[in-house]
Amino acid sequence: MSEKITGVPTYLMVFIALMVLTAITVAAAFIDLGRFNDLVALGIAILKATLVVLIFMQVRHSTRLNKLVVVTGALFLAILFGLTLSDYFTRGFLQ
């Protein structure tokens, strides 16, 4: 088995990317984008989390079974949010 070891330059680049994304999130919060403020903030957070998962947590080098478990966790979270919000957001449709 060959173990792919992520090197220091990669880690440093990801760190800088995460810092830049944090700065962008903070800056974007002060710009009035209306409904898109939430989307931008969440989108950037998802991007940061993806970088951490793939590179810091080395999921990009992991087995397919491992990747499946990661995706499944996210999937169940999506189900939790999706089904619950579909209830709350459709209340008041029928008077």
Partner: protein
């Protein structure tokens, strides 16, 4: 299955961190499988943690859409500078954690210890800032309960809900950090004793997975709690 080092076996990565003895536990067919099951176990735990925090995030989302103005007002009372600083500190601690794992993988014993201590230090800074924030909240009577007072915009009972969620989510997160720091102290001790190496680093990789997860939770907490309605 003998636990002897066979050429062509490749890198071994599992062992007993307390004694530093590496080897293949009898229930596994190969070092590969042993390593993978260690990762899988930690990730299954993290998947559960995702749901654990997910419940609180969902509650926050629902109440936020219902009490938009009150939540924006509550959020505005948080110090965005401290929050951004803490975000940078925690991401930095993830960097030091990743570097600690790298150092273990490349047989750098002292560097491993230094990076673990760096992670512990940054984690401590994060918790210190949180303590400052919590104290400030306490002094302004923003802690939900019998002494809660709200004199700003928004319906006080709705703003109190914001602070309920703020303390529940950041409190749970801080608890995870305390546990993480306690484990890191243990890992630092083992690393000092030379337990981790290119042949034996599953435990420290698992520790890294836990720590990165705690960082990810904060990556979502920060914009949701601190950056609402600032425009």
């Amino acid at each position: 299955m003998s636990a002897s080092r066979v050429s062509g076996q490749g890198t071994v990565s599992s062992g007993d961190p307390m004694t530093g003895k590496w080897g293949l536990a009898h229930q596994f067919d190969s070092f590969e499988q042993q390593k993978e099951s260690s990762y899988l176990g930690m990730w299954l735990f993290l998947a559960q943690e995702i749901m654990f925090f997910g419940g609180l995030f969902l509650a926050y989302l629902v109440y936020r859409t219902r009490y938009q103005d009150a939540f924006a007002a509550g959020s505005a009372s948080l110090d965005i500078g401290l929050g951004a600083f803490n975000t940078a500190v925690l991401i930095g601690s993830s960097l030091t954690m990743a570097l600690a794992v790298w150092a273990a993988q490349t047989n750098r014993r002292k560097a491993t210890v230094w990076f673990i201590f760096g992670t512990i230090l940054l984690g401590g800074v994060f918790l210190g800032v949180k303590a400052i924030e919590y104290t400030d909240k306490w002094q302004h009577h923003h802690v939900p309960g019998p002494h809660f007072e709200w004199h700003g915009d928004g319906d006080p009972s709705k703003v109190e809900m914001y602070f309920n969620l703020y303390f529940a989510m950041t409190g749970l997160h801080a608890l995870h950090m305390v546990v993480g720091i306690a484990l890191l102290l243990l890992v630092a001790r083992w690393a000092w004793k030379g337990a981790f190496s290119a042949d034996n680093h599953n435990f420290i990789e698992g520790m890294g997975l836990y720590w990165h997860f705690v960082d990810i939770v904060w990556i979502f907490l920060f914009p949701l709690l601190y950056l609402l309605g600032r425009a």
